[in-house]
Symmetry: C2
Subunit: 587 residues, 2 copies
């Protein structure tokens, strides 16, 4: 609800005083039973086989960039860290498990579950808000170079591991579903928000207002948090403001307008001028006189004014004279705009500065032009400079496509409110993250499915981002964890998708290690980033990315490649399965 | 994990012992700040105008049946009742509001908020799990009769109010966003589940397994609860079992299979026969001998068997000999099926009854036929009758369309697991519920938008369902609350969509009142229905519905109509706005 500042036009925006506060979740703790039953049946079989303490590593990744785009944003990490930090089973949990697992289950297993925690787990991950990539899709660097080999089953399974979770086999298996649940939607909606931001450019303010269309209370909060991180400026969701420090915004709904029927309902009727030098003024009379002047200027019939709407605007203006921004299309934009101008001009006469108007139906672009021209006319005719910089807010089932059109069609919309299409991710409502076993007891594991898309890349890895001389990342390299890292200025040989037997040699100008240790020995080892910090990370990460990968439609694919050694391991494991029908461990 | 019973083949299904338990939510309480900021700015303006105690009524409804279907299911009511029962603002909430509302906000307003609750609110609603309808779309009773008048702006705004929330203007306004959030997704996913059930028929069991793809922890729980209510038999989500008593189910993932590499890892190696009459038997040797016999029968090469997979199956079978249902396509269905048969036949020799197999990739219909024919061959050749009734579970990105195909293409799938397409409602990820003002201080209110879809039906109403002589509901009639209700056997005149000046006369054989008082004076006045009770209500409600409205594609539209008096009120209010630019109250 702050007044507009300089050139960034705010609508009712309100930041948390005192900066970032301690963030909390809507849930004190993600319940440790919030997982699939088969995690427990497998856990029991492992436990019975004495394998529960085997050291295992899983990787979390997704297989396709969402929305047909060239990238995704990794998000949900801080929720994951909070989850594993508090992971344990209560007596009630264990009692419930006892009631649902087969009666023959050994009682000692439940005792074992009761004592489980994540003190033996190590989690390495890409920092929250980092640009990440999935399988390239044939339009990238190497496809453009005409390299062959798309049928290579080793390279076809390429995906970038975002998170590695290592520890006792049973524990890391039990974490699967919750980690997927926490990363999947967070990354999806964050990536969606980033696309809305890319479509919109940085000139406009973006308001998330999807709470009522999300998957319940927590879905709505997650949407608000990660839309902000992905590039939105503010939310309508007050609880998200309280919990995460996201700026909150909003003024009025149509129901407010339709609840008034006559000017008698506009109470109180008076307002004191901003400088307080005069007695309280009858704002209704003042507004009526302005209404006459505006109608005359625009050739409108004052009899056609909707009194209830005028009463609604007056009441709001008297309550919040410094924050006047009504929705003007409850009956018709023509009528609403006349009423707005009358009230806003009266406010101006008393020294207040109205904020603007909201349009919530119809052709927003055309209406915004009409509205702006009336506002300019008033500004000139009545010499009211405040009318030059009024904010026009648009909201009406805004999609990514609408947002793109706002950049191509002429319009005067300063702030866009987005709900359904943002929070439900209409274009693709799931990211499809998976969590796959890559190593047990030091031996690499690989799923080799008849469906090549469901195969995995084996072994524990390090992930490096290779930067070119212009400062743009151009290739992410997956290496075995124990390999020496690629070095700046030195050629490195690797295997991108589809270049099976023809390795590619690239020379990075700079190399960064993409993943960091985030949790070990029961402790979070990096400071949890606040929503504002993650938002900053998103902006930095996206700024570095070459525009060709950021195109919303048909982007150039970013290349993810395997190191020579990792490629050979995958090939050997696959040959092992092909020749001997067994997984060969090269160690 | 119960063994198959009679003709209903269960897969690892496990009901809560002792029947329905007290249900809880994942959230102790939906936070009262989980709403849009504009609810508070409006609340303040109402309060300043002295209108906060005005008696207002809002209606909650949706505008289109979801998924192109002929109906929706109303769900989320018990969550709404829990929410309004506990609605209040804490000191922390009020402090936060003080920090985000404009500094000029009167301090007494915050004091007022601190004391608010829902003791003055009355909520009337359709019972949870009832079939409901939105705007008819031109293919219904009257369109088929060739009646004209589609341009009638009064009739074009027809929607069925599911919930009426009446009470002090400020309070019922503040409830808007949370009520929408709680009804929207619950009703959507419940309706989606019902469509999956209709597509599947009642022969197959349906397992919801979408937790990892939902909008966070609470989205996942909501999905599990309302999928069950809508017609699914069980969930993979353990917490949903604990909280709502939904039967839980599951056995193993691919990672379990790929975590084993050799038969040495199959531990323990022995199993005691079910009757306990013999010493522990070396199950590995027994299985190997069965493997030889199966390979010989099927002409397969035992050398092509994947030892790791066999070890995984053996370990699981030894842990849960009465609950053996492995996923058999981690490497290839051919290999997995041989391993399954060998282990399952060994179990049968010891008197155990294996449950079945799960297929998780590829062409499920074709694979299920192949699998069934091998199982039958084994049954005949080895005279093992248990092999006749093994369960085949299919899961692999199942959509409503896949489910329809399962009824047209030959297959042997007994249980279907559905995740992403169910919980994210891919076909339409939002129901678009809205909450509109219909009355203030006894005067009807109507939003008359330039966009006819956004107009509303004014006034407080009663909703009656008219039943025909065959027992099928055929028309829902919206009347003014004070009108006398329609009576069985007596003609009633009404206005369905598009029959503006030509009322229709119908004679119901039976009439039921659709909505009941659910909450008043701070108390829930009907028993909250458990998930199982709501599920029963869904089944009853759907059973009564004529099949022509239940067709998944191009259903006949169900007719919703206005009573003569309500139609006249809407027409008069609209004429009022047209002629005098004011909302006329007829009272």
């Amino acid at each position: 609800m702050a007044a507009p500042r300089g050139d960034t036009r705010a609508v009712g925006e309100r930041s948390i005083p005192g900066g970032v506060r301690m963030e909390r979740s809507i849930l004190d703790r993600v319940p440790s039973l919030l997982t699939d039953l088969y995690q427990f049946t497998m856990a029991y079989a492992y436990w019975r086989a004495g394998r529960h303490q085997d050291c295992a590593a899983f990787e979390l990744f997704f297989r396709q960039n969402p929305f047909g785009g060239g990238f995704a944003l990794f998000a949900g990490l801080s929720d994951c860290l909070n989850y594993i930090k508090t992971f344990h089973f209560t007596d009630e949990d264990v009692d419930f498990l006892r009631s649902v697992l087969p009666p023959a289950t050994d009682a000692a297993f439940f005792q074992y579950l009761r004592g489980l925690d994540c003190s033996g787990v190590t989690l390495r991950a890409v920092p929250e808000g980092t640009v990440v990539f999935a399988r390239v899709r044939g339009s990238g660097l190497w496809a453009r170079g005409g390299l062959k080999g798309q049928n290579c089953v080793v390279c076809n399974v390429l995906q970038e591991p975002l998170m590695e979770v290592a520890g006792p086999l049973v524990v890391v298996q039990l974490l699967e579903t919750s980690l997927l649940c926490l990363v999947n939607y967070a990354s999806l909606v964050c990536s969606n928000a980033a696309r809305f931001r890319l479509a919109s450019g940085h000139k406009r303010k973006l308001l998330e207002m999807g709470l009522r269309r999300a998957q319940g209370p927590d879905g709505g909060l997650t949407a608000s948090r990660y839309s902000y991180i992905g590039g939105f400026d503010m939310t309508s969701n007050v609880q998200a403001g309280l919990l995460f420090g996201v700026p909150v915004s909003g003024t009025m709904a149509h129901s407010y307008v339709t609840s008034f029927t006559s000017l008698e309902e506009a109470l109180p009727k008076t307002l004191v001028a901003v400088n307080g030098n005069r007695d309280a003024v009858d704002l209704i009379s003042l507004t009526k006189s302005w209404l006459g002047r505006v109608c005359k200027l625009l050739g409108a019939d004052p009899e056609k004014i909707h009194d209830g709407e005028l009463a609604a605007f007056l009441s709001y203006a008297i309550a919040y004279p410094k924050n006047f921004l009504p929705v003007i299309d409850s009956y018709s934009v023509t009528c609403g705009l006349l009423n707005f101008c009358a009230v806003a001009l009266a406010l101006c006469e008393l020294g207040y500065r109205p904020l603007g108007v909201r349009l919530d139906s119809g052709d927003l672009c055309k209406q915004s032009l009409d509205v702006r021209s009336v506002l300019r006319l008033c500004s000139e005719h009545f010499s009211i400079s405040a009318f030059d910089s009024l904010t026009i807010v648009g909201s009406n089932n805004i999609s990514e496509q609408t947002m793109v059109e706002l950049n191509t069609k002429e319009n005067e919309i300063d702030v866009v409110g987005v709900g359904t299409h943002l929070v439900t991710c209409t274009k693709q409502p799931s990211l499809g993250c998976v969590y796959k076993l890559v190593e047990v007891q030091g031996k690499p594991r690989m799923k080799i499915s008849e469906d090549p898309e469901k195969s995995t890349v084996p072994g524990r890895k390090a992930v490096y981002r290779l930067i070119d001389a212009d400062g743009y990342p151009f290739l992410d390299l997956l290496c075995l964890a124990l390999e020496s890292p690629p070095e700046a200025g030195r050629p490195v040989s690797c295997h991108p998708l589809g270049t099976c037997d023809t390795p590619l040699t690239v020379t990075p100008a700079e190399v960064t290690c993409l993943r960091q240790e985030m949790f070990t020995k029961g402790q979070v080892t990096q400071p949890l980033s606040s929503a504002a910090q993650s938002k900053e990370q998103v902006q930095q990460s996206l700024q570095k990315l070459h525009p060709r990968h950021k195109r919303l439609q048909e982007p150039d694919s970013y290349t993810v490649a395997l190191s020579e050694k990792l490629h050979m391991l995958a090939r050997d494991l696959r040959r092992g399965i092909t020749n001997k029908n067994n997984v060969v461990s090269p160690n």
